[in-house]
Structure formats: C-alpha cells, structure tokens
C-alpha cells in the first residue's frame, strides 16, 4: 500500500514540476517546451540535444504520416470491408482494398504506446533543460557526452542492460497481450475474419456470454472451470504428498542403491513430455498396449475405456500426471527433507510415534512451511497445464453439451482449441483474461497468508 502511494506521489510531483519548470524557467528553457533538446543544444550537451531533436522530428513525421490515422482507426476498427467490383474491361472481379480491423487494432495499439513513450521522453527533455539552467546558474557545466557514456556503464548500468530485455518483452509479450486483451471486447470470431469481414467493439458481451448469458457457453465455462480447479487441487497435492513419500523412501537409512533409484525416476522426467505423454495416450487407447496386456493376462474381458469414458478419463489424466509429477517432487524435496533436524524424529520416536504420525506431525508441517511458494507456483502451473491434458487426452472425450470442448479440457486447452480450431479469438481472449483473474486471485490470497506466516516465529 505504501509503495503504491509513493509511486503516485512521484507521478504527481513530476507533473507539477512539468508546469512549475515552465513558469520558473528562462527563455531557453521555455523554448525547449516547443523545440525539444534546445536546452541541451545551447548548453553544451550537443549529442544529447540532437538526440532529443531527432526524436521529436521522427515523432512528428510518424504521427502525421500514419500515427494519427492509426489512433483514429481504433475507434471504429474499420468501416469498409474488402469488396468485389466487376471489371468490365478485363471481365474479372477485382478486389477493392478495404479496412483490416485486426491490423488497425494492432497498429492503433502500437501508436498509443509510441505516444506514451514520446510523452515520457518529452517530459525528461524538459526536465533536463531546466536542470541545465539551474546548473549553469551555480557555475557548473552540464555533463558532456563522454561523461554520459561513462555513466551508462557505471551508475546508470541498469539502464543499459535492462533496455534490450525490456524492449523484447515489450514487443513479444506486452504488445501482443494488450492486443489480445482488447480482442476480448470485440466480436472477432469465425464470422468476422478480416479482410473479408470486419469486427468491431462489443463491450462486455463476451464476458456475459461466457458467464451467464449464452446457455451453452456458460455451461461449458462453468463445467470446465470446476474441472480445472478439481484437477489443479488433485494434481498439485497428490503429486506433492506421493512425491515426498517417494523421496522419504529413497532417502531412508538402510536403503541401498539410492543413486540408482533416483536416476531411474529422473530419467522418466528427462524424456521430453511430448514423447512420453503421446506414448501414454497410445498405451491407454482402447486398443492400446495396456488393454492388450490385461486381456492377454485374462484379467479383463472387454477393454477398459481409460480415455474414452468421461469420468474414467478424468481419473486417468490425474493418475498419469502422478507418473509425470512425482519424480519432480522427489527431486526437489529430497534436499529439503534432509535438512529437517534429526533430533525432532529422535524425540518423536522416544515418545512412541510411528512413521505415519512422524510424517503427519513433523515432516508435513515442516515441508509445508518451507515449500509454500513452490506449491503456489505448482498450483498455478497446473491450472495452466496444457501439455499433460492436450497430449494425453486431447481434452476428449468430446461432449455435445459443451461448446467446442471435451470432458477433460481445462480452461487453457479450451482457449487453445478456440484459437486454433475455431478461430474464435474474442472468446479465447475472454477465457484468457478469466484465467488470469483466477491465477492472480490465488497468488494474492496465498502470498498474503504466507507473508503473515513468515512474520511468525521461525519453525521450531
């Protein structure tokens, strides 16, 4: 809370500074509000001043050539669809160039970002001009270009090294994300594919459709939402507990070939998931090897519908996920388990506690205390566990009651299917935003809890 306010006050300070600098500044400073970089050029910061000036010229050129149109385009997302006109002379249909809602949205968002970025640079240049004026008043010279470059590798080193990563994140994560978030408020689906058809803003229609308005979609959403949570709880906690038991068994005193056992289990997770999981789906197929094996052994008459029965498929994916996840937990918890003070167990044994009591009363509380953040990431990871579901069951068996989804589909795999198979981008984005809300809700709740837990006495 405190952090947030300080950020806000800083923002308001720089805004009030923007105006007061104009009032207090001299002629050159005032002029740099119109011509960027003037306060640097006339005050011995040539390179810096030229950069500011260049940025301003480029910005004006960009805005006049396309930027303004791009931003205006955001309002309508295009009015003229691509059309066909009969060409009498050549006896063919010619396509007339229409608007493309998607590109208009993309470039519009980009233009907004450019404007915001420019405003920041503009504010910085004005502040710079004012500071130069103040420095000269007390007979100090503003730092020249060489000094600036040196600072980039010392005090300002973080600016230098953070610029490339952040530019990449901006271009390949933030920009696409903002674009897709906006898509959730449009009707961009199969019937509105530019350039043939245009899409437009529809407000919260997609959200209301997903949550209550559209009977099929909202039913699908609710069912998949519940299943996603059930799946995440089972997948996280079963893996956690059984993986820990596995680790305890391997690390127990008197067990031989510890390294051998560990390597076997690690090997199974080292095999790429798309290989092992797709293989699993073939093994568990109605005519797959496991059914064949059971039949040959005479254990069953008819095949077991591991992945084709709605309920059994859910059990199967959870069980197979144990196969995937237990070795991970084993790997991660081994080290922490060995850190549990041995005398805790010693005294428990003297008090007559069996292995089960020891596990429940000593191991579990200790591990839960240490690995809560790991558990949260696991839980969130399981809500978004695309690989296991998609590769194993493909979301199937399909259900006619659902909108483009199967019985074991999670919200994420539904999102994927809506995007790739259905091209229902607006619905997919809506689901994505809802998943985001769910994930951040759980993170916030648990982080608040753990931060209060951390203030308590250390364990033991």
């Amino acid at each position: 809370m405190k952090k947030k306010r300080s950020l806000l006050t800083r923002l308001s300070e720089s805004i009030s500074g923007f105006f007061s600098h104009f009032i207090n500044g001299d002629g050159i400073t005032k002029a740099s509000y119109v011509v960027m970089g003037l306060g640097c050029l006339l005050r011995k910061q040539l390179v810096r001043g030229f950069c500011y000036l260049l940025i301003q010229v480029l910005f004006i050129w960009y805005m006049l050539s396309t930027g303004i149109n791009n931003i205006i385009g955001l309002k309508t997302l295009g009015v003229n669809a691509q059309g066909q006109v009969w060409d009498e002379v050549n006896q063919i249909y010619r396509y007339t160039k229409g608007d493309n809602s998607m590109l208009m949205l993309l470039f519009g968002v980009l233009a907004v970002f450019v404007v915001i970025g420019f405003l920041f640079i503009y504010a910085a240049s004005v502040k710079n001009a004012y500071e130069n004026e103040q420095l000269l008043k007390v007979n100090k010279t503003p730092s020249d270009f060489n000094a600036d470059v040196k600072r980039m590798f010392n005090e300002k080193f973080h600016v230098t090294i953070l610029t490339p990563p952040i530019l990449m994140v901006f271009l390949f994560t933030l920009l696409p994300l903002v674009f897709m978030i906006l898509i959730a408020f449009t009707n961009f689906d199969k019937n509105h594919q530019p350039p043939g058809n245009l899409f437009t803003w529809v407000g919260l229609e997609n959200f209301s459709a997903a949550l209550y308005n559209d009977p099929v979609k909202s039913h699908t959403f609710l069912s998949l939402f519940i299943w996603t949570l059930v799946w995440a709880v089972f997948a996280t906690f079963l893996n956690y507990i059984f993986g820990m038991i596995l680790a305890i068994m391997i690390n127990k005193k008197g067990i031989r070939l510890k390294k051998f056992w560990r390597t076997i289990f690690v090997t199974t997770i080292a095999v790429p998931q798309f290989v092992s999981l797709m293989l699993m789906s073939k093994l568990l197929h109605d005519q797959g090897a496991i059914n064949v094996l059971f039949k040959n052994l005479g254990w069953i008459e008819d095949f077991i519908p591991f992945l084709s029965d709605p309920f059994l498929a859910k059990v199967t994916v959870i069980v197979v996920n144990l196969w995937v996840g237990m070795p991970y937990t084993m790997l991660i918890t081994s080290g922490i388990l060995m850190n549990i003070p041995a005398d805790l167990y010693e005294s428990a044994r003297i008090d007559g506690a069996g292995p089960v009591t020891q596990f429940l009363k000593i191991t579990m509380p200790y591990m839960l205390f240490v690995t809560t953040p790991y558990l949260i990431t696991q839980f969130i990871g399981n809500i978004n566990n695309f690989n296991v579901i998609y590769l194993l069951s493909g979301g199937g068996p399909l259900s006619l009651n659902y909108f483009q989804a199967g019985n074991t589909d999670l919200l994420v795999t539904w999102l994927y299917k809506l995007t790739v198979n259905e091209q229902n981008y607006s619905m997919a984005s809506t689901i994505g935003i809802i998943i985001f809300i769910i994930c951040s809700f759980f993170t916030l709740v648990v982080f608040n809890k753990t931060s209060s837990a951390q203030k308590e006495e250390e364990f033991q």
Binding site: L106, F153, N154, F157, H158, I161, P164, I166, M168, V169, L171, F172, T173, P176, L177, I183, L246, M249, K252, G254, I255, R256, W261, F265, V266, T267, T268, V271, P272, Q273, F274, V275, S276, L279, K282, L283, Q287, A289, V292, N296, W323, P327, L331, I332, G335, I336, V370, P373, Y374, N384, F386, V412, L415, Y416, T419, V420, A428, S429, F436, S451
Partner: protein, 284 residues
C-alpha cells in the same frame, strides 16, 4: 527387544525395496515400450500382442534415408540452429535482467518486478496469434528467425532463478571492487559472472532444451512450411491420424534419438535445477 526391532527395520527396508522395484518398473514401462516399438518390424500403432514379432534397424535408418515426406535430418539441423541461437540470446537477456534487478537499486526496480509478475500470470499462448501477426509485419513468419525471436523474446521474464543466485553472492565483494575503482559493468563481467557458473549453466541448458520439446509455438508460426519444422512438430506430424499406422514405429525411433541427448543433459543439470527451484522458493 533390540533384536525384534532390528528384524522389524530389516523387514521394513525389504518391503520398501520391493515397492521401489515395482514403482521403477511401472515408471519405466513407457520408455521400454518406446524402445521396443522403435525396433519393431511390423508397422502400426496398436498391436494385439506386446512383444514385437520381428526386430529391425530400418526405423532408424529410414529416418535419414527416406526424407521426401518427413525430412528428419533437416528438422534436426533446424532445431539445433534455433536451440543454439536462442540459447545464447536468452542467456544474455536473462543474466542481464537478473543482475540489474538483484544488484542495482533504482527507482523502477520494484514496479518492474511486480509488472513482470503480473504479465507472467496470463496464459503464455493467449497472445500467440498476436505474436504471429507482429512477426508477419516484420516479414518473418515461417522462418527460423521468427522462432528464435519467440523463444527468446520473453526471456527476461524468467529472471527469478538467476536473480536468486546473484542475491546469494555477498555484496561486500562488489563494494571492495568498487573501492578499487571498478565500474558496475566491470564488476558484472569480471566478478559476478565468473562466480555464477552454476546458474549460467542452468540457464544455458534450459534454454537449449526448450526448442527441442516445444511444438505449440512452432505449429502456430510454421503452419505448413514443412522444411522449417523442428523435431518436435515433425514427430507430432508422424502420428497424426492419417500417418500413424505407417509411421508409428519410425516416430518411436525418432523420439529415442532426441530423448537420449536431452535425458543426458537433464541428468547432468538436475542439481542446478533443484538448487534453482528451492533456492528461489525458500526465500519466497
């Protein structure tokens, strides 16, 4: 009394050995099946028996000789190229971000970290369609460079583990270097990096492995450009509905060939993996 306790622990250990044995067997079933199928002579994904009727090496050799439909060697080189380049770019970006956020104190540090955390909570491939169109604007779709950009584009967001490691390097080392007149840049290259070998190795390996196992982004970016497929997507094509009967055993052979190096790399880096995850989690 003592004796009975001894026999009890011995009995307990035997039971645990047996349980571990059975579990190992269950855990190894898919891998065993993969190996068997990769040497199987008869085609087909589903057989009415478990052990193959005949064994052959054809599945392996045909991967490299019959390349008209499924160009395995080409896919292998594609993946290797993407993996090497994106692993270099990713490692640089991750280390730079982690160093700045761990060692430097600046005004936007906290907001930036929170911002990255919030960004990370959106499902990753929600934005892949938009990424596709951004790449299209650059004229890069269906090329390997596009793939490299996608794999290393969000790299900075995975800075946590490296930051956790940098946090453990005592600040006093930096300070004494600074007293000797070293700049922040020199400290990073000459002091922090050489001390951070484990986390550098971890970052290199994880980013090297990613292109070998991902097929979601490749499928969105490459569409039908078979020549530029990576191994994972190519193998995935082999067991599509119309190909699975003929190519299943060859799929298994191809999978074995890439699973071996990845398994070795993973076993090699498991201790870095563990210290990365737990190191971050213990501190929260």
């Amino acid at each position: 009394m003592i004796r009975s306790q001894k026999t009890r622990t011995a009995l307990g250990n035997t039971i645990i050995h047996i349980i571990l044995g059975i579990m190992s067997f269950i855990w190894l079933i898919p891998i065993g099946f993969l190996l068997l199928a990769s040497f199987r002579k008869e085609a087909g994904a589903y057989t009415s028996y478990i052990l193959p009727k005949g064994y052959t090496l054809d599945n392996y050799t045909k991967l490299f000789t019959e390349t008209s439909l499924f160009n395995y060697p080409r896919w292998f080189l594609n993946t290797l190229f993407v993996a090497v380049v994106s692993c270099i770019v990713t490692t640089i970006l991750v280390l730079l971000t982690a160093y700045a956020l761990s060692r430097m104190r600046f005004r936007l540090r906290r907001p930036l970290m929170n911002f990255i955390m919030v960004l990370g909570m959106f499902p990753g491939f929600m934005s892949m369609i938009a990424v596709y169109h951004i790449l299209k604007a650059f004229g890069l779709t269906q090329s390997l460079w596009a793939l490299i950009l996608v794999y290393s584009g969000g790299a900075a967001m995975g800075y946590y583990i490296a930051k956790g490691f940098f946090d453990t390097i005592p600040k006093s080392i930096d300070e004494s270097a600074m007293l000797d007149g070293a700049t922040k840049s020199q400290i990073f290259w000459k002091i922090t990096l050489p001390l951070s070998k484990p986390v550098v190795i971890y970052t290199v390996l994880t980013s090297f492995i990613a292109p070998w196992v991902d097929f979601i982004f490749v499928s969105v970016i490459m569409k039908d450009n078979y020549q530029n497929y990576t191994i994972a997507l190519g193998l995935y094509q082999m067991i599509s509905r119309e190909n699975i009967y003929q190519y299943f055993t060859r799929f298994c052979a191809g999978a074995v060939l890439i699973a071996i190096p990845i398994t070795i790399l993973f076993i090699y880096m498991q201790k870095y993996y563990v210290s990365g995850i737990t190191g971050g989690s213990v501190k929260g």
